[in-house]
Amino acid sequence: MSEKTVALFVSCLVDQISPEIGVATVRLLRRAGCQVDFPDAQTCCGQPFFNSGLRNQARDLARRTIEIFEPYDAVVLPSGSCSSMVAAEYVHLFEDDPDWEARAEALGAKTFELSRFLVRQGWAPPGSDAAPTVTYHDSCHANRLLGLGGEARQLLESAGCRVVEMVESDRCCGFGGLFSIKMPEVANAMTREKLRQAVDIEVDVLVSIDPGCLMQMEGLVDPDGPRVRHLACLLEELG
């Protein structure tokens, strides 16, 4: 496998709240034969502001992010939602600005969510006897904007996990960024429904590639229920 330098964009959520996801991501990327660089100026992709209708702020953060990451050959994020912001939404922010639109498009083309990057690299985790039975939550933006989902399942199976499907694997977990704070009663009800579907199929672990969804689900998961884990953390733990 050729050595490839990738820029790691962890997302503000991972940086501040779930750094263990970033650590696992670095280790996996190295196991997949990559050199990892962490551009220190990175903060947030701007998605919360885009979703809140603060378009100017979203644009400013997008420009900033583009400047930081465009020198690299590939950018990897352990977050489906932030990947979709960079790879699918940035161009829409600059529809009236051809220069930035082109730069957004160029960055989008080399930005990858972690599971997709690993699969494209041709890397697969070795099978493990300790692999649990899992189910995979098809997080909304990853699934609908980037068509992700197959990659994570493939990696999980390669690691020896039995992957069981929920009735609606693609039903929203209720996070929705600031939605979970602006309408917490509604968000929590959605999360409980998601967790109920995971409990129904009696799996050990509920896996996601989105730190936001994980935080949301962890906030309500029953201590006796399935563990809620990021794909990177689970794969890293299985060795």
Partner: protein, 470 residues
Amino acid sequence: MSASISQFRSQADSAINDLPLQEAIDTATGNFWRGREGALEELPDSEGLRDHFKAIRSATLAQLDEHLESFESNAKAAGTHVHWAEDAAEACRIVIDIGKTRGVTLATKGKSMASEEIHLGVALEEAGIESVETDLGEWIIQLAGDPPFHIIAPAIHKRRDEIVTLIENASGESLQSAEIEDLVAASRRLLRSRFLSAGMGITGGNILVSETGSLVLVENEGNGRFVSASPPVHIALVGLEKVVPTWDDAAVWLQLLARSSTGQPLSVYTNVVTGPRKVDDEDGPEEVHIILLDNGRSQLLGGKYEEILQCIRCGACLNICPVYREVGGHTYRSPYSGPIGAVITPLLMGLEEYPALPQASSLCGACRDVCPARIDLPRMLVELRNDEVEQGLVPWSVRRAEEAAAWMLMDVDRYRRLTGLMRTAQLPVLKDGDLRMPSFLDPSKGRKLKGLAPRPFREIWQSELEGGDG
């Protein structure tokens, strides 16, 4: 009506805690969306058909005035009276005037969301014209005095025992031990007599076919046929965006409509009305009136919300919506609920009245996936949120907090410093990594909220990972 964030949240909370209601919503929406999936699979190329339909809808809207004018002239040639109603008040007035001219005291009604939109029932009552809903679901909510809970299934929130009592009270029959069929039979007996004595019938309309000036009305109970054909006058109230140029286009619409809404290949009844009864027709109304309802629609043409006029009110987006499936229809405080309601309600009735609706979404995008016209509903929800910011409809404290967060994130040193301060500031409420707040302050309402990690990733990177094999 209006819906503020706090109204929406508290109404949502009661719906969420009403277990029988939750079950009723799950059953109805579940049957619908599973039905939809199956019905679309039966088509050789449902994705292609949806693309084709989207193209028809956008091309028609691009020249809406021409298509409406040719609809008008062809409908007139067939003997239909065509009226243009600029707003709800004008539409109600037209209906009432027709009724008054004909001395009508009783009108039967078919299911029509447009009539809910303009509150026609109230206007008729005030004008001294009794109106009776004849769609079973609509009739039940009329008896109960409720607004519709779902755009295609208005009474799914009503429990069986509530329905029994409503029909008992209306019919005077004892129905406590009745089976569903008995309930339907009792309703039918009661409604039949009204059908025969009504001076006019009022329906909605699903499609206006321009080339022949025809109205297409789909329904499952046969009541629409009765309402449109048996009284001497038939009035159809139709949103002006529902036009298509040709029958070929209408055929595509019909192929997708019932499949997307209930999972049927076609509704049980597809009625076509092209003018009133002809001399040698055995039945049909003496007069047919079609009211083309604008009520804010034409303002959307040519703007960033034009796409929403492609909606055919199939209800698929409600059935798949994870928010609608928790909060139900009444929480939206509009006849239009779910994703379509969250977009169309503020557009037609005022964003300042309905600031909660564009916020009532996790932007998951499930609605866009199922919409037969592939309407990008999440994009429009975000546009509406932009409008809320621009129009100053976002609470001051929320706006300031979000702007401050963006300001912090624009500079990495500032970000490092301020997140560092937050780490210290959270200590008094941090327990086992979670923020523990008194419940009245708890922004997540009972969900555990992680605090900031002891060290941010960037510090771990610097001390343990950078350059090494960590």
